[in-house]
Symmetry: C2
Amino acid sequence: MNSEFDIIRHYFSRAPKHALLGVGDDAALVACSPGKDWAISTDTLVAGRHFFPDVAPDKLAYKALAVNLSDMAAMGAAPRWVTLSLTLTEALAQNDDWLKGFASGFFALADLYQVELIGGDTTGGPLNIGVQIIGEIPAGKALKRSGAVSGDDIWISGELGNAAMGLAYLQRRLVLTAEEASPCLRALHAPLPRVRLGQRLLMLAHSAIDISDGLVADLSHILARSDVAAVIDLEKIPCSSAMKSRLSLGHTDRQLVIDCLLAGGDDYELCMTAPESKREAIVRLAHELDIPLSRIGKIMTGSGLTILTTTGNPVIVERKGHDHFLAR
Amino acid sequence: MNSEFDIIRHYFSRAPKHALLGVGDDAALVACSPGKDWAISTDTLVAGRHFFPDVAPDKLAYKALAVNLSDMAAMGAAPRWVTLSLTLTEALAQNDDWLKGFASGFFALADLYQVELIGGDTTGGPLNIGVQIIGEIPAGKALKRSGAVSGDDIWISGELGNAAMGLAYLQRRLVLTAEEASPCLRALHAPLPRVRLGQRLLMLAHSAIDISDGLVADLSHILARSDVAAVIDLEKIPCSSAMKSRLSLGHTDRQLVIDCLLAGGDDYELCMTAPESKREAIVRLAHELDIPLSRIGKIMTGSGLTILTTTGNPVIVERKGHDHFLAR
C-alpha cells in the first residue's frame, strides 16, 4: 500500500545535482546569488479532501496561500513570489461572486506578507488549487529538517490541536461550547503562518518544520532526517483550556483530544529545535513577537519518539498523522 | 461568460510591484542577481480536458513537463528547476506500473534538458498534474510578448497543425493514412519543446510566444501586448504535405485543416518576431539547429491580424483557439 510519502520517496526522489536541497523538506533550496538562497515549495488543496466543497471562497484562497507561507516560515525564508494554478468547475468559472471572494481572500493574505502573485494557470476540471511559492534566505542559513542535534530543546509555537478539534466539531464527533469552538474554527479556516517567527529563528534554531500533518508525524520527520531521537512531555504540549479540561483521565473525549493534540494536522505552528544556550533569546523573542513558544522536550542520540506523561500512563496515538492515501 | 483569459485579467492581474514582469506572458520574470533574471511559470493538465484518461503515464508525464519547458523556450530561458504537484486517484496511487511509467517519462525529458525536480506535493483526488518551472535568462534579455515592433518579420518554427490533426484523427473527425497519422500523433503526445532555439533567439528576436492555443490566438497575444498589427500569408504557414494536400479549394477537409493550422493548439512551436536585419542570422540558426524556421508575415502599425491567401478567398477561422471555459 503506497502512502503519500512512499510515492514521493520511491518514484520521485533523486539526489539533487545542482540544487542545495531537493525533495523532502518544507521547501527546496537553490543558490540564487552570492549571499542569497531561494526556497521553493508548492502545496495543493483538493475539494472534499482538504476542504468542504461549500467553504467560502475567501477562506479557501486564504488557506491555500497560508499553507504555502507556512512552508516558507518553516525554512526561515522571506516569502517573495507566488504563482497560482487554479482548476475550476464550469460553474465556479462563471460565478463572479465566488471568483471575487477567492481573489480578495488571496490578495488580503498576500498583501499582509508582501508576497506578489506573478503568474499561474487557469483551467477547467474538478476544483483543485495549487500554489507555488518562492522565498529568500541568507545563503546557507535555512532551517532544514536535518539540523537537529542531541541536546537540543524542542520548541512549539502557539497551541496545537485546535484545527483538528475544529474539524471534529464540524463533523459532530465532539461537542464544544460556542466559545470553545470559535478559536478551533479560526485555526482550521484561517491559520496564521509563522513567517516572521521563522525568519527570526534563523540565528537561533538548528532545525524546524511546520506542523501540517500532526506533531508526531512532523517531529518524526526531523528525527529521521537528523538521525536523532526525542523525548517530549505530553503535559507540556501547548493547548487550549478546552483541550486541557478534556485531557483528564477518564474523560469521554480524552482519546480524541490526545489524537488532536499529537496527530491533528492543519495547525501550521512551528516545531523547532535549538541549543540550550539559546533558551533566553528564544523566550525574549516570544515576548517581542507576542507568540507563545513552549519547550516540550529534548533531542537525544538514538532513534524514535517517546512521549512521557506525569501520570505514567502510556500515550497511544490512534492516528499517526495525515496521509492522503492511507485510510483514516 | 468568463473565458480563461477574462478570469485571469479580471480577478488575478495586478501590476507587479517588485517583479520585472507579472501575470500575462509565457512566464513571469524576477531579478535574481546582477546579470541574471529568473523566468517562473506553471502549467496544469487535467484528465479529460488536456488528455484522454487512459493515456500512457510516461506520455502524460512527458507532456506535462514539455508544455512547461515550452514556456521557458518562449522566454528564451534555460530551464533549471521544476516542482511537481500530483493529485492522484486512490487507484493510481496504488498502481506501481502507472507510477513507474509516469516517473520514467518525467525524468527522461528532465534529463534531456538538464532540469532538476526539486520538490512538489502528492495528494489524493481527481487526476490533476501541475508542473512549476524556473529558468535562467541573462538580465533584461527575455523574449516578451510585448517586444514586437512595426517592420518585424514573423517567424514560425517547425510545422503547425499536426497536433490538432492528430486529435481530429483520434476523434474520428478526419481520416488519415497510418503514414500521415504518425507525425500528427507524435506532435500531440510528445511535442518537442524548442528550448535551445529559444535561448539562441535572445540576441535575434524582439518577441516570442509558444503556440499552445493556436497561431491566431497566440500571435494575437503578441499583437495586443505590443500594440501592433500583423499580416500573414496562409500559404507560407509551415505544415505537412498531408495538410497541404487537404488545403486545396473544394477539398472536403479544407475547413477542418485550416482550423487545425490557424487555431489548433498543442503544437508548442515558437512564433517570434525579428527585425529584417536578422533574416540571414535566423536562416543560419535554422541550419545549425536543424529546425525549420519559416517567415510567414510582417508586423505593421495598427491593430488586428489579417490572413492573406493567394487565391483571394478570405480565410474564416471557425475556432479561434483553445479556451478552457468557452464552448468549442
